[in-house]
């Protein structure tokens, strides 16, 4: 679903070596870096951190939506939501696999998530209070994720780029189904329309914050862009999101909760207000509405599944004999 760069190490480059020169040259020529190629330690560490955070986001992202599977309003909506949640599990797997090519183990990554050392996207620490929230997540959260992820299909690290191709292909239905849920609500009773507006009111700013801090405060933008791990800055992607989402809100006849939002004909873009970044850093550092609940749910799932993993190993051992 989405990743967010939150804590990147400050380690310097292994400069001036012949290997470094070959690496830089490949990056400049747009040749993908593959798992067994030499790469600077900081490049490897940045990728491990980014890809594993991305994977964790997919896995934790199943929780707010899974919350609504049994209560989705029709059998078809239940099937759709199950398919979507299943996709997120698959996306987590593709990404964990990509991170493993860099020499980290699955176990180490899961441990980093469950012990709270590794981050995931702040958006999943907000609750899904109503059915309209499922629509808002598809429309806004997956919409933002797609904008972030499409450039990643061209990033410099081959296994990550290839995983993102699969993710993007599968993700395209997620956003549409969300928009369809909201379209249906907006064409319904006044109460249903109000439900949709309430969901937009609560999800708009967290979605705008998904692109990470403003460029001026994001010290790692530059290095990740030089390495072609990142192809556009946080603010460029955020602008794109607002530009494509505002007309969709108009179509739904819903009001985006930003008094500064206005079309700027001169720039050819929407102007918009600044999110509450204090809230962003609060949520990232573990104090969002659902951080503890999400982690508790993941830990319980991992511990409750221990006997299944043990049984599977015992069975595989027995079959080998």
């Amino acid at each position: 679903m989405y990743t967010q760069m939150v804590d990147v190490s400050e380690r310097g480059l292994d400069e001036n070596s012949e290997q470094q020169r070959i690496f830089d040259d490949k990056i400049d020529r747009g040749v993908t870096i593959e798992a067994d190629d030499w790469m600077p330690r900081a490049y490897r560490e940045t990728l491990v951190r980014q890809i594993s955070q991305h994977a964790h986001s997919e896995i934790v992202g199943m929780l707010p939506e899974g919350n609504w599977i049994t209560r989705a309003p029709s059998l078809e909506r239940k099937c759709i939501l199950m398919a979507k949640v299943q996709d997120e599990a698959g996306h987590g797997l593709y990404l964990y696999s990509a991170a493993e090519t860099l020499g980290t183990s699955r176990e180490a990554m899961i441990d980093a998530l469950l012990s709270g050392r590794s981050k995931y996207s702040s958006i999943f620490n907000y609750p899904t209070l109503t059915w309209a929230d499922v629509g808002a997540i598809g429309w806004l959260v997956d919409g933002a994720a797609i904008i972030n992820q499409i450039p990643l299909t061209r990033c410099s690290y081959g296994p990550y780029a290839r995983a993102m191709v699969r993710v993007c292909k599968e993700e395209s239905f997620h956003q549409r189904q969300g928009f369809e849920v909201l379209t249906t609500l907006c064409r319904g009773t006044p109460d249903q329309k109000a439900l949709a507006q309430d969901a937009l009111d609560r999800w708009w700013w967290p979605a705008v914050m998904m692109f990470g801090p403003p460029d001026a405060e994001s010290k790692h933008n530059e290095r990740s862009m030089r390495w072609k791990i990142k192809l556009y800055t946080n603010d460029e992607l955020r602008q794109k999101f607002v530009d494509q989402t505002a007309p969709q809100a108009d179509f739904l006849d819903l009001a985006i909760p930003d008094p500064d939002l206005a079309w700027n004909g001169e720039r050819g873009h929407y102007d918009f207000g600044s999110p509450n970044w204090t809230e962003f850093y609060d949520v990232v550092s573990g104090n969002g509405p659902c951080n503890r609940e999400r982690l508790r749910a993941r830990i319980a799932a991992h511990e409750d599944g221990a006997w299944v993993r043990e049984a599977a190993v015992a069975y595989a051992e027995k079959r080998k004999q």
Partner: protein, 98 residues
């Protein structure tokens, strides 16, 4: 996360043949305790949208691969043999079906 818990299951590479008659193509990898589980998981993860008509799984540790440092010795020799490509040859104007 207890000490008794097994380490990561073996890694398997997954190859899917699409219904269009193309060869099996590498699509990704997964961990599984054994071959049956690997096939089942590959089916669940990599063929949810009619992507495939056949699946191969191979234990990643069984794959023999070239090393990056061998690249020059193995693959650059072909670069100075343009005569292996049809575009090397000039077809006289007016000659057809060649």
């Amino acid at each position: 996360m207890s000490e008794a818990e097994p380490k990561d299951w073996p890694l398997w590479e997954v190859f899917v043949r699409s219904a269009h008659g193309l060869a099996h193509k590498h699509v990704g990898s997964l961990h599984a305790a054994g071959p049956e589980m690997a096939l089942q998981n590959a089916r669940d993860v990599y063929t949810r949208r009619n992507e495939g008509a056949s699946l191969w799984i191979v234990r990643a540790s069984d794959i023999v691969a070239t090393q990056p440092e061998d690249r020059e010795a193995l693959f650059t020799a072909a670069e100075d043999k343009p005569y292996r490509h049809p575009t090397h040859y000039t077809v006289p104007e007016g000659v057809k079906n060649l």
